[in-house]
Symmetry: C2
Amino acid sequence: MEISIDTSNELPMFAQLIAQIKQAVITGELTAGLALPPIRQLASDLGINQNTVAKAYKVLERDKVIVAKGYKGTFVHDDAKANSVIDWGEKALSIMDSTVLKLRDAGLTDSEIRLAFTAIMKKNH
Amino acid sequence: MEISIDTSNELPMFAQLIAQIKQAVITGELTAGLALPPIRQLASDLGINQNTVAKAYKVLERDKVIVAKGYKGTFVHDDAKANSVIDWGEKALSIMDSTVLKLRDAGLTDSEIRLAFTAIMKKNH
DNA sequence: TTGGTTGTACTGCTTGATCTAATAATACAT
DNA sequence: ATGTATTATTAGATCAAGCAGTACAACCAA
């Protein structure tokens, strides 16, 4: 499993990690049950911070691409291949898009829409 | 018509203007057809910029609380009282709230929700 | 028992980007 | 003189991204 980080890339490091691991799952390079490198080791190999790798792992586990088993290590999820295709970002975009359109049609300015959004995001901190 | 600006207030100046004028309409201090002070004069009296007052007037006209008649001046709208009760902010908040809840329930982090939002707001510039 | 490894969690910090609010200075037609 | 519009700029807040350090429970091998 070859992972490389391009600091000049527009994409943040943790996003590059997520993309590459998902890609490896899709291509079949990573199959269900395989062990992934420990957070600290991968961070060390790439010369980046452990938190950055942990952040990527956390998202990947939320998306059920990997499974963390504590001291035992982290492994590729049984349904990794199917779950690697699901793009939460796309789903979020479409939902958010319809909402913004609705508010704009109501005559609200972008400034007011932003105010409403930030207010909601703060509410349940 | 007494208007005062509190710079220490959390609310932006233009929002304070909007709130106070709407309030004056609701209480009956401002009735349909009454003339409002010119933008430049009100700005001068309050010691703030003309653009700030113009911004408030623009929103008030959009909400049909006031009517701008060019060189003739600006006046209280015929339906000002009814339109001052409508709270666009409340409507926007409830719509935005359900959307954010939906996305959070889908497992998205606040960070990702923010990314989706800013992406949409940029899309149709 | 001792020491090391695992994922996880937390706080604090720096950097850069972005947006808002407000100001400033014009300009225009009526 | 009126509302309207434009462009540019400043200051402040907010957030993402990443780094740094620390800590913990669970476990394993020596």
